[in-house]
Amino acid sequence: MNIHTYEKVWIVASMVLIVGFIATITYGAVGPGIAMIDDDGGDINPDEINDDERFAEPGVEHVGGNEYEVTVVAQAWSYTPSEIEIPANSEVTFYVTSRDVTHSFSVVGTNVNTMVVPGQVSEMTAKFDEPDEYGILCNEYCGEYHHTMEGKLNVVPEDEFDLTELSVEADDEIDAGNETTITANVTNGMQEDLETTVSLEIGNQTQEEDVTVPGDGSEEVAFTVDSADLDEGDNDWTVTVDDYEESGTLSVVTPEGNESADGGDGDA
């Protein structure tokens, strides 16, 4: 072959360029530790997503320390959950799958971006150091309203983040003269114990109780309410734990026949 010297030099330079590119990519993998989406997420039958351990209740879960798992189900044209909240300084592993066609799960303005292929679970881990608000969008055509498929990822300051849930059980009505209990159930999704105070405000009274909710567990707090402390008729109440509250109304009624004879509906 009759190859000009300049061209020989160019061939060598081209090879250097190519090897340099491959070296950069390899550096990205071993230096900053960038990993590709791969088959670690495993496969899943889209019809059985609702029965799947992981995907039956998509959302954020605490694994321990600063590690979290977020499961997301994509379907035309939304994500469940559509809004995700995680703390700053966390390492989050996403598990995303699709109920129907191929979508993507792309966190705008970051390198967190995966295809979501039905039958497959996309698994990816990323670290979120700073509080921020990101949009999530689907960048793979998934049907007529593909362009409306979006979500949000909110990274909140660590001290504003918890996985606490509050639910309250209370009667609507009590007979004057009786007592009732308002029961607060506090669930703690974090792996560490949660030390907090549950308080009940009713009428112009406040009751408080300190509780320790075990990691990944729940605790019940029962407040006894005496009708004697309340007004006749409706009494608003509020149960508060940290930033969560739940409220309702408790009516104090005079039992039938006690005071007047007009009809009531008994103790229905």
């Binding site: 300049y6 160019w10 360029l17 340099g20 530790g33 960038i34 970051t110 390198n111 881990t125």
Partner: protein
């Protein structure tokens, strides 16, 4: 100099050998060094290298968070 289009090519005696009026000299393989090409392609090479570095280290690594391996510790990611 004024360039003239190909349709003014005049067919020469043999084969595909053609010559146009703008043709002022004939350069064979031995007499011709593509020095201009070497310069242009050298500039292209530099542009590629610089843009690659910019894209990878500024645009990409600066666009964190990025998907990382779970076991690996993360170094130097913004």
């Amino acid at each position: 100099m004024v360039s003239r289009p190909y349709y003014l090519l005049i067919r020469m005696s043999s084969g595909t050998e053609q010559r146009e009026p703008d043709h002022v000299r004939t350069l064979g393989h031995e007499e011709y060094d593509p020095i201009g090409t070497a310069i242009l392609i050298g500039i292209y090479f530099l542009i590629l290298v610089l843009l690659w570095i910019f894209m990878y280290f500024v645009e990409f690594l600066g666009n964190g968070p990025t998907v990382v391996g779970m076991a690996l510790t993360v170094v130097g990611l913004a």
